[in-house]
């Protein structure tokens, strides 16, 4: 039964039947896939995939960029290999260390089936059935369509395997107990891919998918409650304690606290180059996001993001605009 979610389209909440051996998630309407094909066909062309690459890999590379996988799964600070994980993510709950997502069969995800990969993104479950902490933004990725997930996996599997072992998270009591994630998910996690809102046009729906699912903007820009769940009432209204303890700005179109005095082209230009409307260049974590993710998007996709963002309800927030 599709259920409306605030500020967005609809999320398909049908529970996926999972047999002990687990199988791929349920069927999906053909029309959606066709629509995605159309959108991403354009996008992939604009992104200029490597010549001669497998279509799934080339398409997956674009998804990979839009989903911003690289910055978290690479320990740039300590010169770690791309996607080999190990980046420390300090949070109020302790420090998470991102895992290796290269195709190494032992330390990476090389032994994963497509179904394993889809289950991780859609349900926040590891192949051994254990729950992921929502530091991995599966509450956003759950809304991805299956083709995007498969192509993303194809791209990741085309990257060099790196045998870097994963590092255990260093969490404060009581957050180290993984089983507590089951009730957490019950309370805060809505599983299911995004269903387009038929009352809105294609550009808005594409923007919603990019912002809420692939781009997972809210994972940083939305405040979290004391249990680390994003506060949907204050969607994208800024986070006083973001990743690494830093303040993350309000990006709703609120004129005082958000980016209400920006034009749509101010935003698309910022997402492409990193320059703020006044010509200044913001530092901080968004620099990586622009250089590794939004800078690679097609102009059409950046316009869709701006369309969606400026259609959000303006919320006055703690984090003043950038």
């Amino acid at each position: 039964m599709p259920q409306a979610v605030p500020g967005g389209g609809k999320i398909d909440t049908r529970l996926v039947t999972r047999s002990p051996g687990r199988k791929a998630c349920g069927g999906r309407p053909f029309i959606w896939a066709a629509a995605a094909l159309f959108h991403l066909g354009l996008a992939t062309l604009a992104a200029g995939p490597a010549a001669g690459a497998e279509p799934a890999v080339a398409r997956g590379e674009y998804i990979f960029r839009a989903a911003g996988c690289l910055t978290c799964h690479t320990d740039t600070k300590n010169k770690g290999a791309p996607l080999a994980g190990g980046r420390a993510l300090p949070t109020p709950f302790g420090t998470f260390y991102t895992p290796n997502i290269t195709p190494d069969p032992v330390h990476g995800i090389g032994a994963w089936s497509d179904a394993d990969f889809i289950t991780a993104l859609r349900e926040g479950l590891a192949p051994d059935g254990s729950h992921y902490y929502p530091a991995f933004p599966y509450p956003s990725y759950t809304g991805m369509n299956e083709r995007d997930m498969r192509d993303l996996k194809a791209y990741l599997f085309s990257r060099p395997a790196v045998a870097t072992p994963n590092r255990a998270h260093d969490l404060k009591f009581p957050f180290g107990f993984r089983f507590a994630l089951w009730p957490w998910k019950l309370l805060f996690f809505t599983e299911g891919r995004r269903i387009e809102d038929p009352s809105k046009d294609a550009q808005w729906n594409r923007g919603a998918y990019l912002v809420e699912n692939l781009g997972h903007c809210g994972e940083c820009h939305t405040p979290r409650n004391f249990l680390g769940a994003v506060d949907r009432e204050r969607r994208l209204a800024g986070n006083p304690v973001g990743p690494e303890g830093k303040k993350v700005p309000n990006v709703t179109p609120h004129p005082g606290n958000g980016i209400g005095d920006w034009s749509k082209s101010d935003l698309t230009y910022f997402l492409k180059t990193g320059f703020l409307p006044d010509g200044d260049f913001a530092g901080g974590a968004m620099t990586d996001v622009i250089q590794e993710s939004t800078g690679f998007l097609s102009d059409e996709d950046r316009a869709a993001v701006a369309r969606y963002i400026f259609g959000l309800p303006p919320i006055s927030g703690p984090g003043a605009g950038p």
Binding site: D266, Y269, K272, G274, F275, G279, F281, G283, I290
Partner: protein, 153 residues
């Protein structure tokens, strides 16, 4: 003998010049530094207006690119020791600049290269290449502003 006097005089001139620079008031250096940075920001802001299509002065972007390139040559000396945000007010320059000066200098070099490239693509007049050049410049700006500038409070 004449040579000796010449060298001595030269040495004296350099010594005084060095001293004069060292005697520069940190707050005045910071003020000047920020004025130069604002000049760069003024040019990037003006370029943005053209690229976004708000104004049609496409012929101006090369002049702005050259302005940025000129400023990029000044940056390195704007950061003498003792002008960080631990020792001085009204600045967001982090002590990391002096703790890892080699990295800072490399980042400044990258900025100079990116602005020189921006001049090239601007003079060539190809909007797509110019867009790419701007992205390169943005990367270079981030190369300093991310590791070496404190975030706004």
């Amino acid at each position: 003998m004449r040579n000796a006097i010449f060298i001595l005089t030269l040495g004296l001139i350099f010594a005084t010049a060095g001293q004069a620079f060292a005697a520069e008031e940190p707050q005045n250096v910071i003020k000047y530094r920020q004025a130069v940075m604002k000049a760069i920001g003024g040019h990037t802001g003006a370029i943005a207006g053209v690229v976004k299509g708000e104004v049609s002065f496409t012929g101006d972007v090369a002049a702005h690119a050259r302005g940025i390139q000129e400023m990029s040559k000044l940056v390195s000396k704007l950061f003498p020791k003792g002008t960080d945000n631990k020792m001085q007010e009204k600045t967001r320059a982090l002590p990391a600049i002096w703790e890892d000066r080699a990295k800072f200098d490399a980042a400044v070099k990258a900025f100079q290269a990116a602005s020189a490239n921006l001049v090239r693509v601007a003079e060539a007049g190809d909007p797509a290449a110019f867009g790419g050049g701007l992205q390169e410049l943005g990367k270079a700006c981030g190369g300093c502003h991310k590791p070496f500038r404190a975030e706004e409070k």
